[in-house]
Subunit: 335 residues, 2 copies
């Protein structure tokens, strides 16, 4: 066992891609353990797009502080323990950080470390991917929000990534037509030939929008969105009525400007549900609503005010009033 | 009864506000009725922001064709009938169009006309507002999507408009703290003094963002969004985790450029549900997911691939690979 702990420390917040010096490799002594702590040797580190957000801004987790070891999820093995729950030799996953050794502390309220059970046929690295952050993300995103139904069309962006590749396969398991969007022929071939996607669209090809249209002849019912920007826009254009967008990531924006300026970024960080609606979908329930509204109105719980413009010929001006703030309450033209 | 029918016909699609000539007033003869038709005198026209969309683009309804009478919802009285369901004297609401007289046709599959019941204390115009499009929109938007809970904070934009003013009052009925955003002191005063809103924020004041923050000390749980743009952005900034955004309208964008280019417009038109999520909310269900994923993996239903980069010092380059498309499947650093 080496006596030093190499660490990657955040020195500056990156602009665009990470530049040399944003993360600095330093050597620290191995920490000595207090009661309730365990020391673990980091074996594997999960590399995820969200790390770029942690480097830049406060989001669903606070930004990593300048001077701190960069946050990362990883797989580690306990080498020394004064912690009740972990023994030497235990394999764990949790927020190890980008370093050789990490300390597991029972005072850590987040309790981010958990033991990995010995599962036959599964490699250690599976606990970072298919059974780790990515698999779990794909699972909950698809089952809780996407709610795939047999025969529906699912489109996954960044489909050859760790999360997208699993989200798409979960769609296949549920009987969806699954179309992946990825960059380059190798990734696309992997999606269709190995993972069983029904089609893959290479967004680096000039005609990718036509290819996407051809691959989704019945429109799109579910968008498992990892990318944002132009790709998401094109997918939204092809969505069917009442479709679901599982907003998992917006990787196209992470290295551009301040991602906090993007409304869709806030929808993710705050786990908002944004739902568009139009009254015509509720035609068969008009009586219910009108009855309730009428009661409220009669009991004085609903007040209303009207701005009435006289004359059919004034209707164009009346429409414009809506956009110049001219009316209060209901705007009506008396013919 | 006059023998002519004045109509406002769409001549050109407006740029920005409606300009003279976009809608032309013409005089047509009164239509003669065939079997299954009724003629109704239009009394009141509902003036709604969505009309600006109908003039410009195909959306949830096709754009009004150039040369057609402009579409509008209105209140009318039957003056002559060869229609089984409507008699002379019946009061109706439906898509009358911007004209003096409209024909109700039993062949109209949309069946857009319905009789208005005689309700005591309610004026005819109430069927265009509080019991009409706006009331119904506020009702279904709040009950089906907003789902207001006692003690939550609701923010309504365009709060002094026909829909917003009712949405806010429905929030009060459900026990919410209700904050309206509107333009000018008269509108704001109406919201707080007459309608019982807890606060009103005048977005025309320079310090409106600070006022919004002060009025929503516990953040915002529900956004009944009618405006979009900068106002929506500021509201989203103050949303609480797991908040709901009832996306009803984006009036700030209707007179600017092509609203179809806006992703939020598509969410409305297609009635999409867009939901952001982050894995950490599902911590207590990790076992369930990992067990299912593990089964799928063992039965060959889930395939995965890893790109492994060796060496802790390579981690910064590895993070960048995610943004340059360098990896397929799960990206891992072996320490």
């Amino acid at each position: 066992m080496t006596e030093i702990n190499r660490q990657l420390v955040l020195r500056s917040r990156p602009k665009g891609l990470i530049a040399p010096g944003d993360l600095q490799l330093v050597e620290a002594p191995l920490p000595s353990l207090a009661d309730g702590q365990a020391l673990a040797r980091v074996k594997y580190l999960s590399i995820d797009p969200t790390m770029r957000i942690w480097m830049a801004i406060d989001s669903y987790l606070p930004a990593v502080a300048i001077g701190d070891v960069m946050r990362a999820f990883g797989f580690a093995e306990v080498v020394e323990s004064r912690h009740k729950e972990f023994r030497k030799g235990d394999k764990v996953v949790g927020f190890t950080g980008l370093q050789d050794y990490c300390v597991i502390d029972s005072a850590d309220k987040r309790g981010s470390f958990r033991k990995v059970p010995p599962v036959p046929f599964l490699s250690d690295t599976a606990f970072l991917g298919v059974l780790g952050i990515n698999g779990l993300t794909a699972y909950f995103g698809m089952t809780e929000i996407g709610k795939p139904q047999k025969g529906e069309t699912l489109v996954v962006s960044a489909a050859a990534g760790a999360t997208g590749s699993i989200a798409g396969q979960i769609g296949k398991i549920h009987g969806c037509r699954v179309v992946g969007i990825a960059g380059g022929p190798e990734k696309c071939k992997w999606l269709t030939d190995e993972l069983g996607f029904d089609a893959a669209v290479d967004y680096k090809q000039a005609d990718w929008k036509e290819k996407l249209a051809a691959a989704t002849p019945k429109g799109i019912d579910i968008d498992f969105e990892n990318v944002g920007g132009e790709i998401m826009h094109e997918v939204l254009e092809r969505m069917n009525l009442h479709g679901r967008v599982v907003l998992c990531g917006l990787i196209s924006g992470y290295t551009k400007g301040d991602p906090a300026l993007e409304n869709f970024h806030m929808i993710i960080v705050k786990r908002l549900r944004v739902e568009g609606f139009i009254l015509i979908d509720y035609l068969d329930r008009f009586m219910e609503a009108a009855t309730q509204l009428g009661k409220w109105k009669m009991f004085g719980k609903l007040k209303s005010r009207e701005t009435i413009v006289e004359g059919l010929e004034k209707a164009p001006d009346a429409i414009n009033m809506l956009f110049t703030g001219g009316n209060i309450g209901k705007l009506i033209v008396k013919v």
